[in-house]
């Protein structure tokens, strides 16, 4: 298996003309139940390539459930059942012949709390590629460096690659986790409140990183921080009680939302 880091790739001639958006995910009539609880109701959402899509909404509205459905992580919950379709690059991820491992190779995830493995920084990044069969030290070195550079943390850790990942700060750990996600050369990065456990400076670094990453990846970010959604996303979806109340350009959502419930939520009047 050959492994190249996506950031190296030149944009191909087949890049769509400017202004034409290519959906990476298309969600059609998605319903999801945890046992009796109807957690997602008739979700229709298109997630575009090379865009940052923010998912906002009060606790329990289904936003984390939704992004965990995008990489089928939600299936780890025993009583879950779904109906409808999620097309990833035009293939239904729920179809019986779709290998979940294949999906997760293409879709990386970063969680709320930094969760590095209790290993060295180097081994954290090399973990995924090794699982995919890469043993050549030189190639691994290359992947580790490029991933850490891609996550804007290389300069801070290049001299400490053999130290335990827990020895660095929380903000740095989160960027290590982002680098770990990049190392498997994903197409999409899912982020579930990636800065909620970080200090303001680390938060800004991750936000800037997200802006850079969208050049090469499609990013879906769940956030409780409304201003963060406003700052970094191209599109915003507002979830409430398992439904998408409004999905639009972020500029429209934060300047002139069309639904009163969206306005009430973003202006802090409920939730």
């Amino acid at each position: 298996m050959t492994m190249t880091i996506k950031a190296d790739k030149k944009k191909s001639a087949a890049t769509p003309e400017q202004g034409i958006k290519v959906p990476v995910y298309q969600t059609k009539e998605l319903n999801l139940w945890y046992g009796e609880k109807h957690a997602l109701k008739n979700i229709d959402l298109d997630i575009n390539e090379n865009e940052v899509t923010a998912i906002i909404g009060p606790s329990g509205c289904g936003k984390s459930t939704y992004i965990k459905t995008l990489n089928r992580m939600v299936e780890l919950v025993p009583s879950v059942k779904t109906s409808g379709e999620i097309l990833y690059r035009d293939r239904n991820i729920f179809s019986s012949d779709y290998q979940v491992e294949e999906l997760r190779t293409r879709v990386g995830m970063v969680f709320q709390k930094p969760n590095p493995f209790p290993k060295s920084i180097y081994d954290n990044i090399a973990y995924g590629p090794r699982i995919h069969g890469i043993k050549n030290k030189k190639i691994l070195d290359e992947i580790v460096e490029k991933s850490l550079r891609g996550a804007a943390i290389w300069d801070e850790v290049k001299d400490r690659l053999n130290e335990n990942a827990y020895s660095i700060s929380g903000g740095q750990q989160q960027r290590i986790c982002i680098a770990r996600a990049l190392a498997i050369e994903p197409d999409v990065i899912l982020m579930d409140e990636p800065t909620s456990a970080l200090d303001p400076i680390s938060t800004l670094k991750v936000e800037e990183l997200v802006q850079e990453l969208k050049e090469d990846y499609s990013i879906i970010i769940v956030t409780h921080n409304m201003q963060q959604a406003a700052r970094i996303s191209d599109k915003t979806a507002f979830f409430l009680n398992g439904e998408v109340i409004e999905f639009d350009e972020t500029d429209a959502i934060f300047s002139n939302p069309s639904d009163k419930r969206t306005e009430d939520y973003i202006s802090g009047r409920f939730g």
Partner: protein, 219 residues
């Protein structure tokens, strides 16, 4: 109880300051024309002196709004309302400046008998001040229908202004020695006409607040 009680109470304070500012600006305009009609130099001086209070109040309102934006991160209608408050305050402050200009022209004219009846200027004053009072009410009530009706009154003020200038020019032809006074009166007419334009601007801000889009009500 509103989740954003602090925000809403700060916003109310800013809005109340705007109402106070509008009362002061309209009163200044009214008094400046009274001073002109009555050749009352003292009253004109008082208008000039009182303008400082209008300026201070506008600055206080701006500072309050800037603090709300900095501390409360408002979005959507909340944000538009704050921006609109600043812009309307600026319109009102400018109206206060027109009152000062009228007062200065009044002092220049002094006790000299007026060459033309100032009936037209009085009519413009009545219309412009009524427009301003009503547009502030419409803004508080967020009543765009009323806002549009008020903006439409601007055409009448423009007509009166045109007629006033025409008569002043005629008066100038037959009273060349009064050219200075005629020029002052032409300026005063212009200030009244501009005050009505600012009422229209305020109506446009009301539309922006309610609909989130920019409208041009001047045409």
């Amino acid at each position: 109880m509103s989740v954003r009680e602090k925000f809403d109470s700060e916003l109310n304070l800013a809005q109340n300051q705007l109402i106070e500012l509008s009362t002061m600006a309209i009163e200044a305009l009214d008094k400046s024309i009274d001073a002109l009609i009555n050749h009352d130099i003292d009253a004109a001086l008082k208008v000039i002196e009182d303008d400082a209070e209008i300026n201070v109040l506008e600055e206080e309102l701006n500072d309050r709004v800037i603090l709300i934006i900095a501390k409360q991160s408002p979005v959507a209608t909340d944000l538009r309302r704050l921006i609109v408050l600043i812009k309307i305050a600026s319109d009102l402050e400018r109206i206060g400046d027109y009152a000062v200009n009228i007062a200065k022209e009044t002092i220049r004219i002094g006790k000299e008998e007026l060459v033309t009846p100032i009936e037209l200027i009085k009519q413009m004053r009545s219309l412009a001040t009524a427009m301003l009072r009503q547009v502030i009410e419409a803004f508080i009530e967020e009543d765009v229908v009323k806002g549009k009706e008020i903006a439409e009154l601007d055409d009448q003020v423009d007509e009166l202004y045109g007629e006033a200038i025409r008569r002043l020019m005629m008066a100038g032809a037959s009273n060349p020695e009064k050219l200075s006074q005629i020029t002052q009166l032409a300026f005063i007419s212009r200030y009244m006409e501009r005050s009505a334009d600012h009422a229209t601007n305020i109506a446009e801000q009301l539309f922006y607040l309610v609909r989130g889009k920019h409208y041009n009500l001047n045409n």
